[in-house]
Symmetry: C2
Subunit: 299 residues, 2 copies
């Protein structure tokens, strides 16, 4: 059996059984980030992410936009748990023929994003890949989240409203390289209308909503006609393109009207749209599609 036959989620389930885990119930694989409880102050977040040439960016993409994307993806994951970034480690596996100027512009993009959203470079590693191999950029970062602002993807409740920020679909037209992580909105949410569950949309609603539902032990009823779609895109693209980096939120129905009204005043330029309702497990609809690394590329 090859990786393309199994898919990303099933692979991860098999692998995590093979290695020791932290006995702390808050740590471990499965959510947007790992959560570590040191026993004092805020909780610590750990996250790793990778960008691969010809998968996440093309060789002709402007390198400062690739650098922005590399760290913005991680900032988006921290935001989706209610947290903020702290220290970044940058690992580069690059062909020796790459221009030094490319790497410098890439780092400038990282710097621009870190200055805007917070976070420091703490270290890194550079390695070569054989000439002809794809460049691989791996970002590891630590973050923190206040104990009372921490949001998981596994804590939605039946009857919760399902919301998304912004518009979905069409990321490949350029947005995937210069999206704005919804860090400000996520911080506002956890302080004023703490969601019951939250994650960021990285692999497309069709993949990520079922993940949130499965993690919460629930089903979902999706109102496809309500999905906010990027102009020029189809519903299929909104469901499956991936790399939207919008927030997927569930919230108690009784606070929905006040949330929507307050959101519109605070973020008049960014939509917040109800697209469905969480149901008990086994009820609701189904969704398939979205981005699967090994299956999408391997077939």
């Amino acid at each position: 059996m090859q990786l393309r036959d199994i898919g990303e989620d099933a692979l991860i389930e098999r692998l995590v059984a093979l290695v020791p885990h932290d006995p702390s119930p808050w740590a471990g694989p499965g959510d947007d980030c790992a959560v570590i409880d040191d026993g004092h102050g805020a909780l610590r977040l750990l996250k790793t992410d990778a960008l691969v040439e010809n998968v996440h960016f093309t060789p002709d993409a402007e390198p400062h936009r690739v650098g922005w994307k590399a760290v913005a993806r991680v900032i988006s994951d921290f935001a989706a748990m209610g947290g903020k970034p702290e220290h970044f480690l940058i690992t580069l596996a690059l062909p020796p023929t790459l221009p030094v100027a490319w790497v410098e512009e890439f780092y400038r993009g990282i710097g621009t994003c870190l200055r805007k959203f917070g976070g420091y470079l703490a270290g890194g590693e550079t390695s070569s890949v054989p000439i002809g191999s794809a460049a691989v950029i791996s970002i590891a970062a630590t973050g923190k989240v206040e104990r009372d602002e921490w949001v998981l993807r596994s804590t939605a409740r039946a009857g919760d409203a399902i919301l998304v920020t912004g518009k979905l679909g069409g990321s490949l037209a350029g947005k995937h390289l210069d999206f704005t992580p919804r860090a400000e909105q996520a911080q506002w949410l956890v302080k004023h209308f703490k969601p019951t569950a939250m994650m960021d949309l990285s692999d497309g609603l069709a993949k990520d909503l079922p993940r949130l539902a499965k993690a919460s032990g629930l089903g979902f009823m999706l109102e496809k006609s309500a999905i906010p779609i990027t102009p020029g895109c189809s519903l299929q693209q909104a469901l499956g393109d991936g790399e939207d980096f919008e927030l997927l939120i569930t919230t108690r129905p009784e606070s929905l009207a006040e949330l929507m009204e307050s959101w519109a005043r605070h973020f008049p330029e960014l939509g917040l749209t109800q697209i469905g309702t969480m149901t008990s497990a086994g009820e609701g609809g189904e969704l398939s599609g979205g981005w699967d690394h090994f299956k999408t590329l391997g077939n």
Copy 2:
């Protein structure tokens, strides 16, 4: 200018100037790991590392040995600062045609090493690389070090004895895949004979000793005839092969005799050898060679 024209150390110097750093004087790029002071308890260590197919391992290497190596390298870095591993994040960028069994065996190797030396899997990320591209494995980890056991590479003093553990050279014959990180020895050293400076030998003595000297603002006098060489290897291999993962230690000359005597009782099967003396900057000898990622592969 391409990466192969500039080399790894010069590249890193140019890049770190482009991004924000932690204002804390203990954090930041340059040593084996980044050191973070949370203000309470032990110091936190952060480290990232990468293994590239056809650079750090061949496609026919047994995957559980590759997994062992992937985390043992990081454990060796923590050990060299006097620290211990805590949480690991594993990032895999793999071709979709790779057998699932390969990845499972690789994770078993990680598990074996973590059970032996401590540390937990906290999370990870899998991505695909285009078919034909080299697989890239990136490991990020957090560790900790007690405040009074922390050792840098930049704090050697002129007149210090230079020591290495074990024997150098010949890693490619197999040792690079199943070396033992000198974690036990490093812990013993920082508790009983705290070195003035320490690092692990990853790119070969010819590259790493000048790095330690430069970081400390010193020179060095190397006694080449004293270097402990792996049987069957040449002096050139001992200096330049890299991936020895032995400890490079500096220590005050007045405690040397007692250290050597006590070491021999505690670690009778592992050599500890004086190979030279730290000098003031500008004095001493020179060394060149060793492994440079971009130059060695790119020419």
